[in-house]
């Protein structure tokens, strides 16, 4: 059979080669996407890389772009503010990503069982993901008001004499942002985990039960390894999301009080849009991009061969 396949004549369509009519039709079909990719992804990406090697204040127009080589990167390495922002971003993502994922997984495991009103609950948990960050921010601004917010009133009611000032405190502003971001992201993670859980073969659990495996044993030996590809995907997506997190920070704290919640993305905004140092801002963006890329590669490498079906 294989010989017959090998001997089959090359079709006329295939013989037309890359310049043929069908190829042209193919190009035509992907043209909208291709144009979109070029205009909104490739050009900005290449421009961003290019700008990071320049000194440019945007007001001076394209004529005002001055090539400075690696100066911006050298300045960044000497900038203590940059390293502090790196530290905050690592903390923001390092605590926020596991928290979001753990919360999402717990919700998914709860909703995977026979829960009353499961569909409604799924929608409810998913709502924060589709609501605008400004609306979320506004609600949390009221909830976390240091003296009149419901959270602190509740804490006082249970005997906490001096509750945190949350968004208005240098010690708590980043913690507050981590909690809010994680809360907002849990629903999305739960939905993805839930679809993965529902795709797991029932017979594995039946066999495990026959072998006497308890709930925890079933989770550690079947569920968790099976969820590894989903977990890796969500970890990477969540890490990228946290490293780019901007809306809630800009709305809730503007990087403050002081610099206490100035992450890399906010530092980039501040340098670009407030100080008009676009080259420096682009360099911050590039450093952030490289960091996320390396971490994503690490995660990807780490999960290879660990998933049950991989």
């Amino acid at each position: 059979m294989s010989a017959a396949v090998l001997a089959a004549p090359v079709s006329r369509q295939a013989r037309r080669g890359p310049g043929g009519a069908s190829a042209r039709a193919g190009w035509l079909f992907i043209l909208p996407n291709l144009v979109g990719f070029l205009a909104f992804t490739l050009v900005p990406l290449v421009s961003g890389i290019g700008i990071s090697f320049t000194d440019w204040n945007v007001v001076s127009g394209l004529d005002g772009i001055r090539f400075v080589g690696l100066d911006n990167f050298a300045a960044l390495i000497r900038d203590t503010g940059f390293w502090q922002a790196v530290g905050r971003t690592v903390l923001y993502a390092g605590v926020g990503v596991p928290l979001t994922m753990t919360g999402g997984l717990i919700i998914a495991l709860c909703l995977n069982g026979p829960v009353f009103g499961r569909s409604a609950l799924r929608v409810i948990f998913f709502i924060p993901h589709i609501v605008s960050s400004i609306a979320i921010g506004f609600v949390w601004l009221l909830l976390l008001h240091p003296s009149n917010g419901l959270v602190n009133l509740a804490l006082q009611a249970i005997g906490v004499a001096d509750p945190p000032s949350w968004l208005v405190s240098q010690d708590w502003s980043l913690v507050s942002l981590i909690l809010i971001t994680s809360w907002a992201g849990m629903g999305f993670h739960a939905v993805i985990f839930l679809s993965a859980l529902q795709a797991l073969p029932e017979d594995l659990y039946e066999a495990a039960e026959l072998d006497g495996a308890g709930r925890w044993r079933q989770f550690t030996t079947i569920t968790w390894p099976s969820l590894m590809p989903t977990t890796t995907f969500l970890a990477i997506m969540s890490m990228i999301g946290h490293s780019q997190g901007f809306g809630l920070i800009a709305f809730l704290t503007q990087g403050g009080p002081g610099d206490s919640s100035t992450t890399l993305s906010y530092l980039m905004y501040q340098n670009g849009f407030q100080y008009y140092r676009f080259g420096y801002a682009a360099a911050i963006g590039m450093m952030s991009f490289i960091g996320v890329l390396l971490l994503s590669a690490f995660f990807w490498r780490f999960q290879r061969g660990r998933g049950m079906y991989s």
Binding site: V58, G64, G256, G258, F273
Partner: protein
């Protein structure tokens, strides 16, 4: 039959192209939008400014077009924040047809003029006799000068004043003169402080009234001036008033974003006094959006005893002409008209004219305080403060790293008022960080 019409692909594309062009050129085609009625014919002037259309610019454009029948004026509003200013800057440098634009403060104006986005208006201003106070060599200086040249024609003065809840003031039996010192202000704030009411939203500042123009810089702009004792005194007073609960605590101010929405606690009766510039007049006059029953009394900002007593506001609304304008002469005509008629058309938006033109103080007040002025304001105190108290508006000439220094100042002040930093540490850090920003900008 003319009833039905088929939309062809070509006509649809035409409509789409027109809409795109309108968007790109900043045209506001909606009702109440920027394209004011009238005019027509030859020249179209595109103006970009931060004041909402209905708060004066539309009336100004209509009046200009009535006097210049061959000219159409289109006013596009940009919001005067980081994003709005960036939109204006990229539009100017990117070739969007803008003839005239407004900068709110010298820092953005000089940023634009340094980048070649503004015409040199020095000679044009000198040629107009009624602009004598605005020339580059006028004494005292009433316009912002960059390397001996003028790139903006200011249309407004934006002094700060103290807004006082007159009902609370009367209840406390307080009588005020025409001016006051900081100590007198503090005394009044203490008297007005009651359970649930702060005497003042914020403490008065001391450094600017005492030091005047270029108060942030020392050595002609080579380094910052935060080591000057007035800055430390200013912070100590703020901490003292906050601790005594005479001024609202910084925590609440930040939590409720009252740096931006300072009118809210004043109109709601949570603070008895507010130090602010004129734009909150729009909120006070809006009794539907901000219902309240008390009248607002006006006083000049308090000055530290024995100092010159500079106001903490500034000269504002700088009109510049884009070098890319195809009609620079007509644009200059409009700029002059705007500056001369600001009293007539722009005052209702809370903007006091720099040149009163033909308007008398009473007419300006009538515009500024609106039709409900006799119930919403103590008109006499407003007239006294704005026209009889000898307001001294400082005109700075040094702006090195202005935006960075302002951010550093605000962040460190927040930290100090939140109790996370001492005054001494504020002085050290403000000096160190600002000097570094100045050095970096000077390279």
């Amino acid at each position: 039959m003319t009833g039905s019409r088929t939309i062809t692909r070509r006509s649809l594309l035409g409509v789409a192209a027109s809409a795109s062009l309108a968007t790109l050129t900043g045209c506001n085609l909606g009702a109440g939008g920027g394209k004011s009625a009238g005019g027509g014919g030859g020249v179209t002037l595109n103006v970009w400014g931060g004041v909402p259309n209905e708060s004066g610019p539309d009336d100004m454009c209509k009046a200009f077009m009535a006097e210049h029948p061959g000219t159409t004026v289109t006013y596009t509003r940009y919001v005067n924040d980081d994003q709005g200013n960036l939109k204006l800057d990229t539009s100017l440098s990117g070739g969007v047809p803008i003839d005239l634009y407004f900068s709110y403060g010298p820092v953005p104006m000089f940023k634009r003029s340094t980048a070649g986005l503004a015409l040199d208006l020095t000679d044009k201003i000198k040629a107009e006799s009624d602009f004598a106070a605005l020339t580059a060599d006028a004494k005292p200086l009433s316009n912002y000068v960059l390397d001996g040249k003028l790139y903006g024609l200011p249309a407004a003065r934006a002094p700060q004043q103290v807004y006082i809840n007159k009902a609370m003031m009367d209840a406390a039996g307080i009588k005020l003169g025409k001016t006051w010192t900081v100590d007198e202000f503090v005394e009044v704030a203490r008297e007005l402080t009651k359970p649930g009411v702060f005497g003042t939203l914020t403490a008065p500042v001391l450094a600017r009234p005492a030091l005047g123009p270029n108060y942030l810089y020392a050595d002609g702009g080579k380094r910052s001036n935060f080591g000057n004792p007035w800055f430390a005194k200013e912070l100590e007073l703020a901490l003292q008033l906050q601790k005594a609960k005479v001024a609202m605590d910084r925590q609440t101010i930040i939590a409720e974003k009252l740096q931006t929405f300072s009118q809210n606690p004043f109109i709601a009766g949570r603070v008895a006094m507010l130090i602010q510039s004129g734009q909150i007049i729009r909120s006070i006059n809006d009794t539907k959006g901000y219902p309240h029953e008390f009248a607002t009394y006006c006083m000049p900002v308090p000055v530290p005893a024995g100092t010159e007593g500079w106001n903490t506001g500034q000269i504002g609304d700088q009109i510049s002409i884009s070098p890319k304008s195809k009609s620079p002469d007509q644009a200059w005509e409009l700029a002059k008209f705007w500056a001369r008629n600001a009293g007539k058309y722009m005052t209702k938006g809370g903007r006091l004219p720099l040149l009163s033109g033909e308007s008398t103080p009473d007419q300006i007040l009538e515009q500024l305080l609106g039709p409900q002025r006799d119930t919403l304001y103590d008109v006499k105190s407003w007239k006294s403060t704005l026209f009889e108290s000898g307001l001294k508006l400082p005109v700075d000439t040094i702006f090195t790293a202005g935006t960075e220094i302002s951010t550093i100042h605000q962040k460190l002040t927040d930290e100090t008022l939140l109790g996370d930093r001492t005054v001494a540490s504020w002085v050290t850090e403000a000096t160190r960080q600002s000097d570094a920003a100045i050095a970096k900008a000077g390279k």
